[in-house]
């Protein structure tokens, strides 16, 4: 009994310090995450104000901020974002859905794997940007060339990651279904597909970044709207601040789409702890 009376406050104190430490760490983490970008911006701002940095190439963050504020009040800014997002979404679906299906088929059926694997392996490492001239030759300057550029990049990544996801489903789960003599269709839908979801999400995560890169590249060379086009155009007329706003928007879009994938993953794979 004596032990508990001594033990309890001590335990509570230990719990308190532990909780305190966790809180302190959470705060420290935010600080550590924010410190590098804030420090960088600060150095940049000071450098620009003191003339130590050439503002022709590196305008002060504050001037970029002002420009940003001006731009978000224009219709053109939102139109650019809208059209870029639309291209990305359509391209993503055009490449992602067939990639998912082919990846599933390759994972589930050995003959399909044997037929397509060499082709996929050979074409996957090809830099898709190198194909831009050909894509524009075929599809011209219209929207399809942008969709297709994004789609082709997403397609291979989805195929490979989905296939890997299916092949990596632990065999014990297949044993359970096979032992119960589940039909092939039931095995696909109740074991192979949910088991492959982690791999599919890995694919999605990589695809978001790649889609953004390809979209901007395609808009550089063959578009008259969109964020990529706006950056390129800003360069050609030497509107440096506007160029930087474009960079910021792309960075923001990348961040938000990665976040969206995370959110989807938490929703669909609640058992997957990261």
């Amino acid at each position: 009994m004596a032990e508990t009376t001594i033990g309890r406050p001590a335990l509570a104190a230990a719990a308190r310090t532990r909780a305190g430490r966790t809180r302190a760490w959470a705060f420290g983490r935010v600080l550590l995450t924010l410190a590098p970008p804030v420090a960088l911006l600060l150095i940049w701002e000071i450098g620009a104000q003191t003339g130590w940095i050439n503002v022709q190439f590196f305008p002060a963050p504050s001037t970029i901020g002002v420009k940003f504020w001006e731009m978000i009040q224009t219709v053109q800014f939102w139109d650019d974002i809208g059209i870029s997002l639309q291209r990305m979404a359509i391209g993503f679906l055009m490449g992602g859905v067939p990639g998912l299906l082919l990846g599933l088929a390759m994972g589930l059926f050995r003959p399909v794997r044997v037929i397509f694997q060499p082709l996929v392996a050979a074409l996957y490492p090809l830099p898709k940007i190198a194909l831009l001239p050909l894509i524009m030759l075929i599809f011209g300057l219209g929207e399809m060339s942008k969709y297709f550029t994004v789609a082709i990049g997403v397609f291979f990544l989805m195929t490979i990651n989905t296939m890997a996801g299916v092949l990596n489903v632990p065999s014990i789960y297949l044993d359970v279904a096979n032992n119960l003599h589940a039909s092939r269709w039931k095995i696909y839908t109740t074991v192979a597909l949910p088991g492959a979801l982690p791999g599919i999400f890995t694919g999605l995560r990589i695809c978001v970044g790649v889609a953004l890169i390809l979209l901007v590249a395609a808009e550089f060379v063959g578009a008259d709207s969109g964020i990529g086009y706006r950056i390129w155009w800003s360069w050609s007329v030497f509107w440096v601040e506007q160029m930087y706003v474009g960079f910021a928007v792309i960075a923001l879009l990348g961040f938000l789409s990665a976040y969206a994938v995370d959110w989807l993953e938490r929703k669909f794979l609640p058992w997957q702890r990261r």
């Binding site: 044993d175 359970v176 032992n179 119960l180 589940a182 109740t190 949910p194 058992w271 702890r273």
Partner: protein, 278 residues
Amino acid sequence: MPAKISIRDIGKVFEQRGEPFEAIRDITLDIGREEFVCIVGPSGCGKSTLLRILGDLEEASSGDVAIAHDDRKRPLTAMIFQQESVFPWLTVEQNAAYGLKVTNNWNGAESRERVEYFLERTGLLQFRKFRPHQLSGGMKQRLSVARAFITNPEVLLMDEPFASLDEQNKMLLQQELEKLWEEFRSTVVFITHSLDEAVLLGDRVVVMTSVPGRLKEAIDVPFERPRDLIELRRTPEFGEITHRLWEALREEVQRARTMEVGKIAGRSGVDPSVAVGS
């Protein structure tokens, strides 16, 4: 009446790194209806291979296996594995219902009640909405037991289901399994490396030899059912039978060990006879 499970001269040869590996040889065994048979043997003797053949997950290289399917509405076998085999993407409830759903035996309210009953019996009812990653190892294994029982199989195949659990949990689960089985009799083939477990649960204990696994001996366990496993452990008969089993098994374990040493010594170029020290 013919046996429920009739195993005739079966053998299994695997291909291992390009070389044939004989896992089991010439096994002949009859198992009666509602008989609880435990199979023990040194590790790596092909016990699991035998069970996987019965569960239709592996095909025998030679010989015949016949399992009488008495009631077409019941699944023939349901297997409980040693490793974690509950699906992480399903809730406890969905996992428990999986066998019924996947065999097209789900019939609404009655099935729901059945799932509920077995979750209650395995102490998982209050965790029905949880997912496996939120459960302990013992709970996950209880869930596999529930999943198998819920399908109401004619034959339960258990592959060291409690081997990865701690001793206390294992004792509780053994008792729970015994009670469940008393209530829902089916034919059971239970693989274990624990002699205690085999004697506590089985009507008959079959001893296998070291690899390639053959049948060495079968010992009948005369204890009445239902059994109180804790009390049973304290009886002299229990010690007697366990001892007899060990006598049968000891030689095989020794042989398996010698072979293991030989294999490792062979790889590293040490003379096996020196390494064993016999």
